[in-house]
Structure formats: C-alpha cells, structure tokens
Symmetry: C2
Subunit: 333 residues, 2 copies
C-alpha cells in the first residue's frame, strides 16, 4: 500500500476524533478518508486537510473500497464489522478488546513488536491504553536488565471511558458547586472528588477486566507469556492522561542512572525527572503529546534490583489513536 | 489521670477542629478544654459540650495547668512548644513529624502498639496519616502470615495538606469552570483534574519525605526495623480520605478468605469487599468515620504468597485526630 483508502469506524467518539487528527498531523499518505459512525451521528461532518467530510452510517457495505479500517466503536461493533471489513479486503486495526487475546491476531505496539504486524490475517489489535504507555517503558528495560516482576497501580482519566464520562465528571462538579444532589450514571459511584478502584467489569478472580488486560496484554506484546505482572486499576477525576505508579524487580542489578540511560534511547519514551525542580510527568502536561513520559525513577531498597517509576501518557493519543495510526504506518510502503 | 485538663494546640486548623469534635463525640472525660492557636486566630471561639470556648493565643505559659496537650500546629511549633509543655508537666501527643523518629519518643497506633505509650517521657508522637490507616491493616496480617515486603501507592486528599489546600482545589475548579487562568500556590502544580506524584519535600534519595515517613514509621510502629517497604505517595483532587493500593508478600501461604477472617477480627479495621455489588472502600464514603476500611482483597499470582488490597480512611480522623485522642485515652484511668 502506498496511498491507502482509510476508514475510521466510530469517527465521532473521543478516540475516533483523535485518530482523524493524528492522521492529519502525521501527514499520513492516503487516497481518501471515510468517517463511519452509527445512525445517531448522521449529519455530522468534520474538517480534514481543508475539506469537509460527512460522517456516513456504518453498514455491511461500508468497506468495499477501503484498504485500512481503524476501528474504535466498542467491542460489539468490532466483533460484528471487523470480520466484514477484513473479508472485503481491508486491514482492520481494532482499538477494542474484541480480538486482542486471539492467538491469530497480532497485538502491536510498534516500538516493541512491530514485526508482529506483518503476521496479520486481516485484523491487528491495538492494545489497551494503560498497557501501551507501560510496555514502551518496560520493554527496553526488560531487554537490558530482565524483568522478574511488575506491580502497577494506575490513576486513569475519565476520557478513557468516553465522552459521556467526561460530561458526568463535569456535571457532578457543577452539581456539588451548586449544592445539588449528584447524579451517578456512567460510573457506579461519584467520580468527582473521589477515586474508584474499579475499571471495567469484575471477573471471577476478583480482578477487574482492566487489571487483567494490563497483565495479559503486556505478556503478549512483550512475548513473555509468564511474565509476573499484577495491577490495581483506579479511576481518578482527571479529564485526559493516565498516570501509573510502577514497581519493577529485575534479574540484573540496575541503578536509576542506568535505567535513565536505557530509557533516554528508547523510542516513544521521554524522561521528565528532576525532583529538585519539581519536575515529573503530569497528566495535565501530556494532553495532545505523543510520548510515554517517565519520571520519579528511583531505587527500591525493599527488594533486590528493584526500581520505582511514574509513567504518564495521553490515553487518547499513544494510548489509542496514535498507536493505531503507527500500526497503519507499518502497512505502508 | 481520671479527668485531665486538656489543651489542643492548633485548635483552628483542620486536624485541631477534628480533635475537638472527636473528644466531644467519644465522651472523653476531662476537667477542662483549652483551645490554643496563633495570634492570627485570636477572637475565634468554638462550641464544646454546650459551652463556648474562646481560642487563646499560644505562649510559653499556656501549659502551666494542662495535663494532656494535643499538638497539631506543624513541626516547628511542636519543636518549640512540646518540650515546654512536657516541662510544665503535661503529656504531649504530637501530630507533627517533629519527634516521630526520635528513639526516645513512642510512636503509637493504639490497635498496634498501645504498650509503647507507657514508655513516654513527656511526648508521644502520632504517626503520619497515610501510615496509621496502613499499619492497622498490616499488623494483624503480619502477626498471622509474616510480611516479607510491602509496595504501596497512595491516593491522598488535599485536606492532608490543610485548609489552604482545600481552598486551592476549590478555587482552581472554579477558575477552570469560568475560563480563568489557574493560580498555583500551595502545590507546585495544578491539583484540579490532575494527580501529583509529590507529597512533602524531596530527599537526597529522590523519595519524598512522605514516602519515607511511610517506610520508617511503619517499621517503628510494627517493631520491625528492617521490614521491606516501599511507597509512592500521590496527591489526588479529593477533599477528604486517603486511599492506598497495597501489595503484600508474606512468608506463609495466605488465601484472600484467610486474610478476610483475620481482618474482620482486627480492631479499627472494617472490610468492604463485595465486587459483585460494586462495593469497595471509597474516599467519599469514609468522611467522619473511624475505621480503616479495606477491600479489593485478592490473590496476586505474580509472587508467592502475595495479596493486593485497597485501604481507605478519613485522614483527618483515624489518620490524625482520632488516633491522637485514642492515645490520650491510654493515659486515663
């Protein structure tokens, strides 16, 4: 493919809109862009490279003239329409969880396992947001110092849930300000001025699906099916940007300075780590930016060869849209 | 002491006011209550058991008729006035960090090491808020299963900083709502819609003082000077209630059900752990309540004999005022 015909499915959602922006910003070479969404979005249109593109309603015929289809409309839409798109000859890059753990579907973070993308049979899965920003940091450290165990606690923004969650946080803040009763709809509890140790549904092992995505997807992307990883996923009242407190034990000795050296050469990673100047990665600083930011890199004396660090990235961008477009770029040329 | 004469130093601060309320609510037997604060608070008064008590300005003569002095006015006030109060014959219960790591000063959480209180020579230290809610959970588990290592990430509310931080969060939220530039004063960065991996000052080892308090104080209270503990302390835009994601490795095998059994019998601890009903401890639910709440108790398969859990408590109450009054109760009788 030199100049593919591209479609975005779920084009009016937060990630879908970010996909359109990233395609534009990166000068992604394409012959045409089709914006697909549900009946509800009929009549909407968006500017793209100086033209106005009308949103089309997704149906089974939508993919007949499409080479690359970027899906971000939820797992049920992907389950139904990704095989249809692939059957029509498009390569699907799917941001939902529908196919991520399917052994026949590559799960790709280009900085980590770009080679996997070539093995696709019509569908490539885009990992979970909190996993992507994590593995671009873990993988280079693993190659140098061999990771033995990872313990993660997340601080995830409401934009990871979608537009309705962003609006719920805004509305709850206004309700509290004006003394009204707080309405709870998108989340099971008030998110304003609160933190919820609950993202996605609970599974039989009492972990949430989000927590197990971080475990399972990290292992698959890094090609380490038994890597010991455990996670606690927490929603915080932040609009954009996921933060992660990450504790890593290594097989080999590692000093913070050595980790910094490795990470400063790692693609997709930027270090912000100057405590004396109060500099560390922040959710409010990462919006609209590409890297996975890492800081607070310090030796953990509670275990042999261990480090603590703090990872922050724009969950709509590297955590979703940017990574999907980077996968699409692997298909070019 | 049967009915001591009690003074609260820093009586107009958030913790000082909570101390007055806790003394009242617990029917703490006292002959008199003196409210002390700085010159700035002159003229304020508070109701206590149906009477109005005027705030007095703290000076070197304030403690001549006092048996128990509850200090919560910051480390520099404690350093100056706690020895004066102790010299005048009062027992000081100090909520600041001034004396916590002094080997001659007991650091007490009554549920864990009440016996230490008896060893005081005039001053007893009240631990850091995020430490107290942690050790009431760790200690019973340690006695049963022998803790080998603890990894903590915190989600700490702005009331832990004080009134000015609560006001800064409120003001930043209003500024953003009304499109004004956000002013940053109490914290080095915007706290509204953000999370800051920075509490208290940075030390030479690149940990914050708050993080090292959690390590050092936990060891001292539990009487385990070498217990492997590491922490990442994070400020979140929550008004009251500190939450903690805690990963614990044990020497002995432990099932979540066994941990629940031990914790359900532990004083000061309450379990909220029913994922099927979306029940887990929440900051917004703990305000004004006494227990350290624990939930999300689950097996961590990334290490032998490991658990993850989620601990939440009112940082002004068990994290400060309540624990101080409980220490005072140990001195009665």
């Amino acid at each position: 493919m030199k100049e593919p015909r591209v479609a975005i499915v779920g084009a009016t959602g937060m990630v879908g809109q970010e996909m359109r922006k990233v395609v534009e910003q990166r000068d992604f070479p394409l012959e045409s862009l089709k914006l697909l969404a549900s009946e509800r979005s009929r009549g909407q249109s968006f500017d793209f490279r100086g033209e106005t593109i009308d949103v089309e309603v997704l149906d089974e015929g939508s993919f007949n003239d499409v080479n690359i289809a970027l899906f971000s409309a939820g797992a049920s839409i992907s389950k139904k329409f990704a095989p249809i798109a692939a059957g029509a000859g498009a390569v699907v890059i799917d941001n939902s969880s529908a196919f991520r753990m399917d052994p026949a579907v590559p799960l790709v973070v280009p900085e980590v396992n770009a080679g996997e993308a070539r093995k696709h049979i019509g569908i490539i899965a885009n990992p979970n947001c909190s996993t992507i920003q994590l593995v671009v940091v873990l993988d280079p450290l693993h190659r140098e110092f061999t990771i033995r165990r990872v313990v993660i606690s997340t601080y995830q923004s409401v934009s990871g849930t979608g537009k309705e969650a962003v609006e719920e946080l805004r509305q709850q803040i206004r309700d509290i300000e004006e003394g009204r009763r707080v309405a709870v709809d998108v989340y099971p509890h008030q998110i304003a001025y609160n933190v919820l140790p609950h993202i996605d549904v609970f599974l039989d092992n009492d972990y949430t699906k989000e927590e197990m995505k971080m475990v399972d997807e990290t292992r698959k992307i890094m090609g380490e099916p038994d890597l010991p990883v455990t996670a606690t996923a927490v929603r915080v009242p932040v609009f954009v940007g996921h933060s992660e407190s990450v504790n890593i034990q290594f097989a080999k000795p590692v000093e913070p300075a050595e980790a910094r050296e490795v990470l400063s050469a790692a693609p997709g990673v930027e270090i912000i780590d100057d405590p004396a100047k109060n500099l560390y990665p922040l959710a409010t600083d990462c919006e609209g930016k590409d890297p996975s930011y890492v800081g607070r890199i310090r030796k953990d004396d509670s275990a042999e060869n261990a480090l603590n660090l703090w990872i922050v990235s724009d969950n709509l961008r590297k955590g979703a849209a940017l990574n999907a477009v980077q996968i699409a770029e692997l298909l070019l040329g």
